[in-house]
Assembly symmetry: C2
Homo-oligomer: 229 residues x 2
């Protein structure tokens, strides 16, 4: 598993991409860039959109260059846009966080194959509970920035993932069948700190947005800064 290969990590700022990054560096990979694909669609081309700029703060804290590619966000197009971003990089592999589906995994593997790259998905196939506990035990500071599932209400936004949260998620799994690690899109997370960060992220101003009709909501981080650990 130990490599000295040059790789990129697909990076959204949440627990999965940060776990993938952590795994890659601990496994000896040379992470040349973080890569974020940003959607160009109506909703998300606003500057003050869900925390996209915050990946800059994370990248700065890590000291790893970040590449942002843009996509209209339609499924097939997004993969082609990712390919265009990756094809001019001198890398040997792509490291991806937890993948939502076999379909998504297949598409990333297709791009990788076309570019002659390997794909590493360290969280793929892992037991969700064990995976969540691993993240807590490694010292990741992770908060919920989006929820969209029956049983997850406004109070979850901004909540930090700890043992109690995992217990609550297991209860919700047993009651309503949600995925404990949120792989079905039940929730989105943001990492404020983890062992590789040189600085931790401190939120100065945030706002909850809740839609009672869809029973979903978001924590919009409006201002944040880095602080020495």
């Amino acid at each position: 598993m130990v490599g000295l290969a040059d790789v990129v990590v697909l990076y959204s700022g949440g627990k999965d991409s940060n776990y993938a990054l952590y795994w890659a560096i601990k496994s000896g990979f040379n992470v040349r860039y973080l890569v974020s694909m940003v959607s160009e669609n109506e909703e998300s081309y606003m500057y003050h959109t869900p925390n996209i700029e915050l990946t800059d703060l994370q990248a700065k804290s890590l000291g790893i260059p970040i590449i942002k590619g843009f996509t209209r966000g339609e499924k097939e197009e997004e993969v082609e846009d990712l390919k265009k971003v990756l094809e001019s990089l001198k890398i040997e592999g792509i490291v991806a966080g937890a993948l939502a589906s076999r379909y998504q995994k297949d598409r990333i593997e297709k791009v990788a194959r076309e570019l002659g790259l390997r794909v590493y998905a360290p969280a793929w196939g892992r037991d969700p509970e064990e995976y969540m506990r691993d993240i807590v035990h490694l010292g990741f500071e992770v908060i919920f920035v989006g929820v969209s599932a029956y049983g997850l209400d406004e109070t979850w936004l901004g909540r930090r993932i700890d043992e109690k949260v995992i217990e609550d998620l297991i209860e919700l799994k047993n009651k309503f069948g949600i995925h404990v690690a949120g792989e079905g899109g039940e929730f989105e997370t943001f990492v404020l700190d983890m062992p590789l960060f040189k600085y931790k992220i401190v939120i100065d101003k945030a706002e909850k947005i809740w839609d009672p009709y869809t029973n979903s909501g978001r924590l919009i981080i409006k201002e944040a800064h880095l602080e020495r650990k």
Copy 2:
């Protein structure tokens, strides 16, 4: 001058890097990435720092992936950090905006030589007045976001570069010797629109910061969004 080479454009979001980008695309270069070096120093590792995140909006408007590299910001280190960002890219050249000095130009050329890249600096050696008029005539919408020179006061922040501004700058050149295109660090600019942007940037919220002791100030763009042209 016509090329089909793959290049990056060193990009800060101001008039010079946008002019360089415009020149590169009109000259037939294939601009694979914009590259911004972000300083890690105390002042600038704040999230709400001088408009750095706004380059994301510009990149999105352009549909060109942007790479942000991080540097402690000390002069020699910055060049080494730039080299690390560039060395894993499959490119043939670097396009740079107006360069402040022979020293800066030499350093970028040194990095390029070490990486086997060509350097293109389309604004280098041009007459400053003619250059400024060119930018206006091409339809660039450029505002002042930083001023730091005798003769430039708070009222210049947010002002849009047009013929009248150029006349005023020429007057200040004659009176106080400032560089009409700001190459001596007299001012910093930000591009809200130019012919290659698919969307224009609209500022929703901005704040002027003025320091009477150094007679310098900044316009901090706090919220902005893209709008169809």
